[in-house]
Amino acid sequence: MILKNIYGLRWKILPPAAGIAMIGMAALALVTAPTELIEGDVQRLLYVHLPSALASYFAFSVTAVCSVLFLLKRDFKWDSAAQGAALVGLIFTLLTLVTGSLWGKPIWGVYWQWDPRITTTLVLFLIFSAYLIARKSTSLDGDKLARFCSIYAIIGFLDIPLIHMSVRWWRTLHPQPIIAKFNPALPDEMLLVTLFSVLAVILVAAWFITLGIETELLSQRLLKLKAITKANISEKS
């Protein structure tokens, strides 16, 4: 009941909260945060790169959870929700790759390296691109397609722990974790701006996921309505 009431407030809370947080994030990242001594101003890309990566993990987690719920309950609303969240995850993965690449050029001298973390992130992007393309282009019937896609999404989600652990398991150029450890390796001011940026982008991701899910659910209702109307017309004639 409480969860339903909170979900009912989504349109009133999420858009303004996300908008204000994003403006605050831009101001903090570009003005307030101190300039890093070695990397200089380009280090400020961290404030969009890391939150984008976390937002993509969040969106794909929603896809995976909704896929599991679809397989358990066989209710198509969970399948639509999984699909809505997957597109948001894909956009944030692309933003992670592009902002990382723009950071890499001045720091490493190249836009792209076949580094374990970057490569596994690209694999995540390709996995969920295929997921969304498959949904639009196969001739399988609804239930079969939804089942295949759910299983595929759950397997694809397993790439996320692999991305997270890649910098620990393999030799990599990508910086080691700076926040997800006992003593964060960032000065307090930078740490606060990073945490605020993560919060702001997660809020935006939550808003986008909600929008995506609602659109998919609407599309599904429309398909049902079309089928009913078609059946009624053929009954009359």
Partner: protein, 49 residues
């Protein structure tokens, strides 16, 4: 490109990504709206017949 250039490009891509998603969604919702209108018209025509 200078350091500031890369920083500007990164933030520009980030904001552009956000707006692109909203545009995709708007096109999708408009498409759904058109389909609802079409369905309404079909139903009205059927009722008239």
């Amino acid at each position: 490109m200078s350091e500031i250039g890369f920083l500007f490009a990164g933030f520009a891509v980030f904001w552009a990504g956000m707006f692109t998603y909203l545009v995709i969604l708007q096109v999708r919702i408009r498409n759904l709206q058109d389909q609802v209108d079409m369905l309404e018209n079909n139903t009205e025509n059927q009722n008239e017949l």
